[in-house]
Symmetry: C2
């Protein structure tokens, strides 16, 4: 794989690149020489029944999953569990536009579906780790979408499911948001159909991306209550310029678009001809659905509506003025409650 | 003035173009040969004390103001009042980028402030109509911003003030929204610094504009409750493609940017060195502030906070699932309540 100033072990490691081989995609195409970047924590026990799988969310990597969720004494405890954090395809660490060579490189990277991530992860956990069950599959946002897909596709393997701040099917409004964010990247004249010389050349597109993530990723309460001050910024403009813009600036626009288009099409009911009730009815995992009260992407009502279609699922909205970006873990109160819910689920 | 397929009397008339002359702008520049497009309804009485001034909102014209608010038996009744609807500068009918000749044409149109509109309107009502008082200045959204500016700058002239779905100072979050929408227009390669051959060439930018207006102009409840069905659309995508996109498609990107930048900088406290309390404390008008409960641009809390700084003002949030675009008047229940509040104010 090619070196990159942002997508590397120094910033996001340690992780291991695992060969998945030729991956048939939902689109009908094949992703050649698929690789997953995988970070593991803890030890697999002899019974092989203590594995937890955590796929990543949009623009995040295994690093932020580790930072936010994993630790001794936490619910996701490496002293008890074998924790497998898998970077989603297209996120810059696993097979992605910038690290793929040949005819699928960069702007020609094939369109990936949530189901493709789950296919690749299924190979990883069954063939590489030799697992037949997962004690828990959990994730936030697009990670929740992958977790839902796991529980629908492989119900007998998934013993527990935790879907945090995400839905099993992307809403029509989120599709418009995705279109708007993708447009903001593609419209940059420097984008050049994905063939830009350097991702930093697409800075105007990435700045627009940061603006739109600011507007939808946080919450009205975050701004009105000036919660950005707790992060060290004295104004909204300062927060956008000092946090959101530099956070996304080093990322690869082709990678972001790959994930955005994946998000846009996410729908577990692809396996049941569009019948969401039938798809979610396949889930046998003990399920907890944990929306964030002020989440503008995945409002609690949308999460609750899906939870009602899952046998025995509980849904508990947890408050955070950070909205969707509560996932970043800056709100300790939110994180404590999520941890408590995960501990109950794992008990 | 130049002819335009959208900004004309056939679509938005009847209105009269009134010469305001050289208009000194807040920026220090001068708008040459300023013209206001003005529609009037009803008759000025002998005492000249029955005039109502209504400036327009973003992207709207005198036509929609007439359609939504004016009618016999309504609060804004042409049988009782002399109603002056003034198209804001840059809206395509009054002096605007596309209808200005010479060095201020198109992409060189000078930056306009809300205060400039009020200066131009003050000349209109005092010099052209010979008025010394206005029974009511009212407006929605950017029209509310102009109404606030009137009541702060000319307190002795404004007897009543009705601010609907708007604030006296643009919030920091709305500035980010404005930046995002402007970027979406400017980033279109066809925009060409405002020198595009035809506004329809900027269709990709205008489509992005429609997406962002969809996301912020309506409300989560509008989508979740499928209120677009009441407008004849069976899906969110259908609503975006069938209503929002064609609604904005014929508009002039330079005009939209002129209004967006004006909105971005709106702040009545320019006259009091940034002290909002002092600025709103100047208002002597009998004031009613009417936010829309689900408005994402101007949440009731923001409107209420300003109302508290105005002596004797009442603030009443009125519910509409249409959010900010409740202003379009499609929600008859919302409109009836606004009418009732305006009748109380005018009693």
């Amino acid at each position: 794989m090619t070196s990159h100033a942002y997508y590397n072990q120094e910033i996001h490691g340690p992780y291991e690149l695992m060969d998945i081989g030729e991956l048939p995609l939902a689109s009908g195409k094949t992703l050649h020489r698929c690789q997953l970047a995988v970070a593991t924590f803890g030890q697999l026990n002899a019974a092989k029944d203590n594995a937890i799988l955590i796929p990543t969310w949009y623009s995040g990597t295994s690093k932020i999953i580790q930072d936010v969720f994993i630790g001794a004494g936490r619910a996701i405890d490496p002293d008890k569990y074998f924790i497998i954090v898998v970077n989603q395809l297209g996120n810059g660490l696993s097979s992605s536009p910038h690290n793929t060579q040949g005819p699928q490189a960069r702007g020609h990277f094939p369109k990936i579906a949530i189901a493709d991530d789950v296919s690749a992860q299924h190979r990883l956990v069954t063939e590489h780790f030799g697992l037949t069950q997962l004690a828990l599959v959990m994730g936030g946002s697009m990670g929740a979408q992958q977790a839902y897909e796991w529980a629908v596709r492989y119900p007998s393997m998934v013993q527990r499911l935790a879907a945090i701040a995400g839905t099993a099917r992307t809403s029509a409004v989120n599709q418009v948001i995705s279109d708007a964010i993708v447009h903001g990247l593609r419209a940059d004249p420097q984008f050049n159909g994905g063939g830009y010389a350097s991702s930093t050349a697409v800075s105007a597109g990435l700045e627009q991306h940061a603006r739109l993530m600011t507007l939808h990723g946080l919450s009205p309460e975050f701004f009105e209550g000036q919660h950005y001050k707790a992060l060290g910024f004295d104004s909204v403009a300062g927060f956008v310029e000092g946090f959101m813009t530099p956070y996304f600036a080093p990322m690869d626009p082709n990678a972001l678009i790959s994930m955005l288009e994946k998000w846009r099409g996410a729908d577990v009911s692809h396996v049941t001809a569009g019948n969401l009730q039938a798809a979610l009815g396949r889930i046998t995992a003990r399920t907890v659905v944990l929306p964030i009260t002020q989440d503008q992407y995945f409002p609690p009502s949308a999460c609750q509506a899906e939870a009602r279609l899952i046998a025995g699922a509980t849904c508990k909205a947890i408050d955070s003025p950070f909205g969707h970006l509560g996932l970043f873990g800056a709100d300790a109160h939110w994180l404590q409650q999520v941890d408590a819910e995960l501990k109950v689920l794992l008990r």
